[in-house]
């Protein structure tokens, strides 16, 4: 088989990667400063709030539901989405918790959700402005339970719903969501750190470790770009997706490095460029096969799985492809760039 000329073309690979990553940042920037939204579409896992999936069972008016929820919660960030093809609705809202800490999203409450196609928060305003009374007059400071109960009660009254109509309810207070954010960052950092240590020890080569980590960083940023561009909600599944991708990508990279290490002993006369190209070529089929099998499985999961899984599998598909790409096009070339000067001297 023809030897692939990876090292010679590495700049093209770098550029391609940079373009995608920058596109992601551009998307975040646009949302943040041009559309006045949050840079990323944070799910309630990360900012706190309530999501309810309710089966109304008959035709309904989204504005009615907005109004009902507004009256029940006083929340200023209500999103109502109709589930396509069904008479059910997904209601999302955030309520200022008793916790003093302000969240980023709450800073721009009304504008924050103009991205979702279907909401008219403004419409509910005129009728209800007078309802907002200072919290002090309400005997008990509203807590989370009350909101959910109020919404459930109000919707049940209006549409005659039973408890089984409330398909799912999820509620997370900002206290725990801040923690989840920290936890997410911590797990990703920890994961990378351990991988770096493992590779450095296993290959007795810290630079290989660094190159591998840089490739990983690339994958994480590419996935982040996908989340930013497609506005996929950033939630717990995001962490799982990122870490899985990290695991996959590192697997790919390790196998190529492993081949480089092996070939280095076998073919002592090859130049560094030739050595890397040869190793990548030899493992190329395997890299493609593996990512293909995994992509097949994830795609099937994406097509047949439920919505919750879909949120998880789409970034995974992108991530696995990106992982394969980065381990071929980025990891080894980066390592090459790090040591080429040394080799020349030697």
């Amino acid at each position: 088989m023809k030897i692939l000329r990876i090292i010679e073309n590495r700049r093209k690979f770098y550029t391609f990667s940079m373009v995608i990553i920058l596109a992601g940042f551009l998307a975040m920037f646009t949302y943040k400063f041009m559309n006045h939204q949050t840079a990323l579409n944070y799910d309630i896992d990360f900012v706190g709030g309530t999501v309810m999936n309710v089966n109304i069972e008959k035709e309904f008016n989204k504005e009615d539901i907005m109004k009902i929820v507004y009256e029940a919660t006083n929340s200023e960030s209500i999103q109502v989405q109709k589930v396509q093809g069904e008479n059910s609705v997904i209601i999302k809202y955030q309520v200022k918790d008793t916790v003093p800490q302000e969240n980023k999203v709450q800073a721009a409450p009304l504008t924050a959700e103009q991205n979702t196609v279907n909401q008219q928060p403004v419409q509910t305003e005129p009728t209800t402005t007078d309802v907002t009374t200072p919290d002090t007059e309400v005997p008990e400071a509203p807590n989370y339970q009350n909101h959910i109960e109020n919404v459930i009660k109000a919707l049940s009254d209006k549409y005659g719903l039973k408890s089984e109509n409330f398909i799912s309810t999820e509620d997370i207070s900002p206290t725990i969501s801040t923690e989840m954010q920290l936890n997410a960052i911590l797990s990703i950092l920890l994961g990378t750190l351990f991988i770096l240590i493992y590779i450095s020890i296993r290959f007795k080569n810290v630079k290989m470790g660094i190159a591998a980590i840089l490739a990983l960083l690339h994958d994480v940023l590419v996935v982040l770009a996908v989340y930013a561009i497609f506005r996929i909600p950033i939630n717990n599944a995001f962490i799982a997706a990122v870490l899985t991708i990290v695991g996959y990508s590192i697997n790919d990279t390790v196998i190529i490095f492993d081949r480089i290490r092996e070939n280095k002993k076998l073919y002592t006369k090859l130049s560094l460029t030739e050595l890397i190209n040869k190793s990548i070529t030899e493992t190329f089929a395997r890299s493609i096969y593996t990512s293909m099998t995994t992509v097949i499985v994830t795609t099937v999961l994406f097509i047949f799985g439920v919505d919750k899984l879909r949120e998880f599998t789409f970034p995974l598909i992108v991530g696995i492809i990106s992982g394969t790409y980065s381990s071929i096009g980025n990891a080894s070339p980066l390592w090459y760039d790090m040591i080429k000067n040394q080799e020349k001297k030697a």
């Binding site: 799912s168 097949i296 499985v297 919750k308």
Partner: protein, 593 residues
């Protein structure tokens, strides 16, 4: 040699088949044909009858009661000595949707009044639901006992039915509570967990799980129920019983101001208040007023025990459910003092923010017992007594996270994932055969072994399968295949380099080992971090991924290796079968020079 290999191949395949059979069959395997056919119809009719029968019974008692109820109710504190006339018993607010509307909120009137206690629809429903459930299950147990007489039964610990399903797959409610104090001690947390457990058991949620999370959180998971508000609020209550002494004047003042405040507030909001709205708000103000201004004379720790009992509270009338309180010696003394002090006035009995009753004190009580009347139903009396008995939580619990999934959604998710898993696995099986030919076929056998083994591990080690867990499992199929892909690619290279099939297999496994191990260790590290750092679903994902990686190492390396070698012994050694030389479909033939 040949016969040994043949044995090995057949043995392995049989083992896989047996494993598959065990995993896919019931918890108890019955050998011999039980005569089920005759009994099933009988069972269904029994089941069908059971609920209707008890349905008829239950409302009958409920309906009978309100008819006789509207008779003056008198509360007595300590039967022998005193008659504390309960002006009005204010039923505890039930936090159900119907409950809120019905609660009679009018503050106690000054004169003895007749209070018709309507049975709340919620309570009536509740009582009727439980009996059929129990009769049904006992009936079932009987019938199964009958069927199990003749055939041999074998306990099957590997059955897939032992695998626990997470709430997202079977529906249910999960709540995370956080202690509302800065640094709760481990002891307090443990006792809070124990207390929640007892309360759940008392409510018959026997499948519910309570676990400590971190240093100040408690996670409660109740499978099966979809409505997060059903019973859940009760469970997290502090449940401290408090007795407040109030003079007549104080009571009057609180009552008036609470009603006025409520009216004023509602008017301010621009709402034309309905009677219910005012009463509801006034009641909340009233309770708050008592808590603020009342004199706390007795609290939870002064109560030794509470029990449901029946008592004739009116001169003429039926026996009514009440709660008997027994006080500790210290409590008895305090209570005696309080009743002396507030003779002719009121003592309000509150459970957290619910007013249980506010009786008028007619005489000093020093016997150390008290009776709380005004229970809506026997069930309410029982649960309230249990709540008091289970003791007060050492701190307030705040719920910070709550997830509820309706059972049907969970089942759909499970069905969808299983279907996706089967289709995905089918694609992989095909892919392997197409790309790697004979070794691919062997890898597919190993893959079967992998799937059954993983399921067996889940059921043996009590893994709770969640939606992300299934994703982790399916992904690990990809990893399992990856090891074989690496090995077979190597074998192909070795064959193309001119080695014999047997030598190529040995070399291929040997050379691929490093790469396979490194890749799997790296993935394992990630899985471990997910399991260790993650919470809830992420943890489940990490767990299944870890199990998947470990099992796949065994099947992809050990099982395929033995099988391949055995097949070579049996004469399957044409290199083209292993993907060498003829380059029709393969991309993976590699440079020889």
């Amino acid at each position: 040699m040949k016969s040994k290999s043949l044995l090995l191949v057949i043995g392995t395949l049989l083992a896989i088949a047996l494993f598959g059979f065990l995993v896919l069959s019931d918890k108890v395997i019955t050998i011999g044909m039980p005569e089920k056919v005759a009994e099933t119809p009988a069972q269904t009719t029994k089941e069908a009858q059971a609920p209707t029968a008890s349905n008829q019974q239950q409302p009958a008692t409920d309906v009978a009661r309100p008819a006789q109820e509207p008779i003056a109710k008198e509360a007595t504190i300590n039967e022998q000595q005193v008659n504390v006339v309960n002006e009005q018993s204010t039923p505890a607010v039930e936090k159900t949707t119907e409950g809120q509307a019905q609660t009679t909120v009018t503050p106690p009137a000054t004169e003895v009044q007749t209070v018709p206690v309507k049975p709340t629809p919620a309570a009536a429903e509740d009582t009727t639901i439980t009996p059929p459930a129990t009769t049904q299950s006992s009936e079932k147990a009987e019938t199964t006992k009958e069927t199990k007489k003749q055939p041999i039964k074998i306990q099957n610990p590997l059955s897939y039915k032992n695998i626990n399903l997470g709430l997202d797959l079977k529906g249910g409610v999960s709540i995370v509570y956080q202690a509302d104090v800065a640094n709760p001690s481990k002891q307090d947390m443990d006792s809070a967990v124990e207390l929640l457990r007892r309360r759940l058991n008392a409510k018959n949620y026997t499948e519910a799980e309570v676990s400590l999370q971190g240093s100040n959180r408690i996670r409660v998971e109740i499978p099966g129920i979809g409505d997060p508000n059903q019973a859940v609020n009760e469970i997290g209550r502090t449940a401290e019983l408090k007795f407040y002494g109030l003079t007549k004047e104080q009571e009057q003042a609180i009552k008036e101001s609470s009603r006025n405040d409520a009216e004023a507030l509602l008017k301010n909001m621009g709402i034309e208040p309905t009677y219910e709205q005012i009463s509801q708000l006034a009641y909340m103000n009233y309770v708050k007023g008592i808590q603020d201004k009342g004199d706390l004379v007795l609290r939870g720790k002064d109560i030794e025990s509470a029990a449901k009992s029946f008592e004739q509270t009116a001169q003429v009338g039926p026996m009514e459910p009440v709660i008997m309180l027994k006080m500790t010696s210290e409590g008895a003394k305090k209570f005696a003092d309080a009743t002396r002090k507030y003779k002719g006035s009121y003592i309000a009995i509150l459970l957290d923010n619910d007013m249980l009753s506010i009786p008028k004190v007619n005489d000093e009580i020093d016997a150390g017992t008290a009776v709380i009347t005004g229970m809506n139903s026997e069930k309410e009396a029982t649960t309230t007594a249990e709540l008091i008995n289970s003791g007060a939580l050492p701190f307030k619990l705040k719920d910070i996270q709550r997830t509820a999934i309706e059972a049907r959604l969970g089942q759909d998710a499970l069905a969808g994932s299983i279907f996706a898993g089967i289709v995905g696995a089918g694609f992989i099986v095909l892919f392997m055969v197409v790309i790697f030919r004979f070794p691919g076929l062997v890898a597919d056998m190993a893959l079967m072994a992998y799937v059954f083994l993983v399921l067996a591990v889940y059921s043996l080690f009590d893994v709770t399968l969640t939606l992300p867990g299934i994703a982790g499992m399916i992904l690990s199929v990809g990893i399992a295949v990856d090891a074989n892909v690496i090995i077979f690619s190597r074998i192909k290279e070795e064959l193309n380099a001119g080695k014999t099939t047997r030598a190529a297999i040995t070399a291929g496994f040997h050379k691929a080992m490093n790469a396979v191990m490194d890749g799997n260790v790296a993935a394992f590290i990630i899985a471990l971090i997910l399991y260790w750092q993650g919470t809830g679903p992420i943890k489940g994902f990490g767990q299944t991924l870890m199990i998947g990686i470990l099992v796949s190492l065994f099947t992809a390396i050990v099982v395929t290796r033995y099988l391949l070698n055995a097949f070579v012994d049996l004469g399957v050694k044409n290199p083209t079968l292993y993907g060498a030389k003829r380059k029709l479909l393969t991309v993976g033939d590699l440079n020889k020079k």
